[in-house]
């Protein structure tokens, strides 16, 4: 286990070493979240690397990562805990067979810890001191408001109340990362308990750096052209703009096709890696792709001459 970083610069270096190219605002907010022991609420378009932050954090601090993927209808029994009903029934039958049915004792026996099935949120609270895990609550906007309300107790006091059992409190609070794609607004009460950060698409320089780090084998020229092309593409009127995840996929795809430079035919064939809506693809395919490509190649050439 590694200690928490002591300054913003140390956070920045740690992220870099763990394989994440971060900008300073993100490093600042991460540093604050770690030091103030506050959950961090990350919001942004799909594919800008929100989930990745939690994974990198767990690598960087050498802590286990516990992930809760949210979905519509997520409830306490699959997110926090559930009782092992079959085992409890057998326990009752056994007690009956042994003839020792005492109501008081039976209820403490039945709702004992060994019959508790731990789900991600409860597991995150029960770590040994000094080994508090990174808890990733992914895509919170996919659940309903009822689950959000349930999270309030967990996020502010790092505790969970089980009616039959009592309150379980974390000895050391986990490092909580909450992400949202903003398919709906998450309630203010949740946000108030967190530090907030909007994760934006990276700028050209940072995107290039990310590509170098994640796809080191691809040619430098390819990486430059891809970065410029994707950046230009984000300026177009698209239903879903490509995220950084798509850029990485695209470079990997082009590299596996043994391409070292971009050409219109290859772009048209592989556009499905970047754009995931048919309307967007048909809009860009053909002349639009050629226009964009010509523009960025001119620009890169001009910059190369400088």
């Amino acid at each position: 286990m590694t200690d928490l970083p002591v300054s913003i610069d140390a956070t920045l270096e740690g992220l870099q070493a763990a394989g994440y190219v971060s900008d300073r605002p993100l490093a600042t907010v991460l540093f604050l979240a770690l030091r103030m022991r506050r959950p961090l609420f990350l919001e942004g378009e799909a594919g800008v690397g929100k989930t990745e932050i939690a994974k990198v954090l767990s690598r960087m601090l050498d802590r286990p990562l516990i992930r809760l993927q949210c979905y519509d209808g997520l409830d306490v029994s699959s997110a926090v805990y559930e009782w092992n009903y079959p085992a409890q029934m057998i326990e009752i039958r056994l007690a009956e067979a042994a003839g020792t049915v005492d109501r008081e004792r039976l209820s403490t026996d039945i709702f004992a810890e060994r019959f508790l099935i731990r789900r991600p949120l409860l597991r995150a609270l029960e770590a040994a001191p000094g080994m508090a895990p990174v808890l990733l609550i992914d895509e919170l906007d996919r659940t309903d408001e009822a689950f959000e309300a349930y999270l309030l107790e967990l996020l502010s006091d790092f505790q969970v109340t089980i009616p039959e059992f009592g309150t379980i409190r974390a000895e050391e609070p986990p490092i909580v990362i909450v992400t949202s794609n903003r398919t709906r607004e998450v309630h203010d009460a949740i946000k108030r308990r967190c530090l907030y950060h909007w994760v934006d698409y990276p700028d050209a320089e940072r995107e290039l750096e990310i590509l170098r780090l994640r796809v080191p084998d691809a040619s430098e020229r390819l990486a430059r052209e891809v970065t410029a092309f994707v950046q230009a593409l984000r300026g177009e009127d698209l239903f879903k703009r490509p995220g950084i995840a798509e850029t990485i996929d695209w470079v990997t795809a082009l590299h596996s096709l043994d391409r070292t430079v971009l050409d219109p035919a290859t772009i048209n064939e592989t556009l499905g890696v970047l754009l995931k809506y048919q309307d967007d693809i048909s809009r860009m395919q053909g002349s639009e792709v050629e226009r964009l490509l010509a523009e960025i190649q001119q620009e890169l050439a001009a910059r190369g001459r400088l």
């Binding site: 913003i8 103030m36 409830d75």
Partner: protein, 414 residues
């Protein structure tokens, strides 16, 4: 978490007046509509003491992390930060500039919309429309007993102001019959289909291990989100105000309702409508909308909705109610494209068109013909009777009475 120092008496590491200034800054943000409570100020001070004050950029990031909680608050935060923290000497000047800006955005608070009603109450009690208390008591959706048939079938555009007042009171009592859908959650129910093991076990324990019965559970039902898209262009002006009263009544009745207005541009007024007083709500709406009674660009407005909002408000099986006369001068193919996209994202798309008041209405205009194939229902919305009908039967199977294809069949291409 360790107890945060109190904002007022915080021991300041710099020995200066940082705490005080942060507090003043927070008050400016609050005036600008960003909800920053004392808890957050204390957080910010705690964060600043962690050594994040070495550079302006870090200072900015720290305050932003603590004070901003929605992406759309960021532009205002940036402006306020620049104005407040750049030049201390010029602060007063900039502050007054900024506050002028803010008050332009917010509007003078003393001009409360309820004041019109208050004035009426003071000067002429007889002329008042049906009073508030009567509205509060009446829970029934139907109002046929209190309104005569003439008013119910009168076109909104032709009503006198007294009739309009009466109609508004009727609209305020309308409730929408929405169709709940099953969710993935359960609740206890005696007639449910599935066994509730947890309750079974608890009952068994209470009985000392005896099995008494099997409690059951059923799926919880929930209303799907409802989205209104309402045209406020010049050709709709006779209906806009009445329809807004209608929407206000519905929006305050149930949750998960979003409302957008469009003329030449699209405005989200969901938050403005969240006032119980209809006058106050509409006053706020009229301040945030800039394109009243202008032209229409339906295709453009739908495009903006599809690209900016649909992913945020059309989740979980949303229904969309589109209110427009369908008359615009844009390219019909563009409108059709955007309608097709909207249809794909919405579970059900209902079009209310005041033009249906004419007995001989025919779908001839190119905009209307472009939109009709993509809607699930096509209905009138020009008098109380049509809105009442809408409120009661919106989600009931209607055996094709409002099928848009009927209109397309009736009128061959113009």
């Amino acid at each position: 978490m360790t107890a945060a120092p109190d904002a007022g008496s915080s021991p300041d590491p710099e020995g200066g007046r940082l705490a005080e200034n942060v507090m003043h800054f927070a008050r400016i943000l609050r005036k600008g509509g960003i909800p920053v409570g004392p808890g957050r100020i204390a957080d910010a001070l705690e964060a600043l003491q962690l050594g994040c004050i070495t550079s302006r950029a870090d200072f900015y990031c720290t305050l932003r992390a603590c004070f901003v909680s929605r992406h759309d608050q960021q532009p205002f935060f940036d402006q306020a930060f620049d104005a407040f923290w750049r030049a201390p000497k010029m602060r007063e000047q900039l502050l007054s500039l900024l506050l002028a800006q803010i008050s332009r955005l917010q509007g003078p608070s003393e001009r409360r919309a309820g004041s019109r009603r208050l004035a009426e109450a003071l000067f002429d009690e007889q002329d008042l429309p049906q009073g508030q208390p009567a509205q509060e008591l009446e829970l029934d959706a139907s109002f046929s007993a209190s309104l005569d048939e003439i008013l119910r079938h009168k076109d909104f555009e032709q009503m006198s102001s007294e009739e309009q007042a009466e109609a508004k009171a009727a609209l305020a009592r309308m409730r929408l019959l929405r169709e709940p859908r099953p969710t993935r959650r359960f609740r206890a129910s005696s007639s449910g289909a599935e066994l509730d093991l947890r309750r079974t076990l608890r009952q068994q324990l209470r009985a000392g291990g005896q099995l008494i019965g099997f409690p059951r559970k059923e799926r919880r039902m929930r209303l799907p989100p409802l989205v209104f898209l309402c045209d406020i262009s010049g050709s709709m002006s006779g209906y806009t105000r009445m329809l807004l009263h209608f929407i206000h009544a519905l929006a305050n009745d149930g949750d998960r309702i979003s409302v957008f207005l469009f003329g030449t541009r699209l405005t989200n007024i969901t938050r403005d409508l969240q006032r119980r007083d209809v006058d106050e709500a509409l006053d706020r709406v009229s301040k945030s909308v800039v394109d009243w009674s202008g032209g229409t660009r339906i295709g453009h407005a739908l495009h903006e909705f599809n690209f900016r909002w649909s992913r945020r408000v059309l989740a979980q099986g949303a229904h969309v109610v589109l209110i427009t006369d369908g008359l615009d001068r844009e390219d019909a193919a563009y409108v059709a494209d955007e309608m097709r996209r909207l249809k794909r994202a919405a579970t059900r798309l209902i079009w209310l068109n005041p033009l249906l008041r004419y007995a001989g209405f025919e779908a001839r205009a190119s905009g209307i013909r472009a939109m009709l194939p993509h809607v699930d229902e096509f209905r009138a919305a020009h008098n109380l009777a049509s809105l009442e009908d809408l409120a009661e039967t919106l989600f009931k199977p209607d055996m094709g009475a409002h099928d848009p294809r009927r209109w397309l069949r009736q009128s061959p291409a113009a």
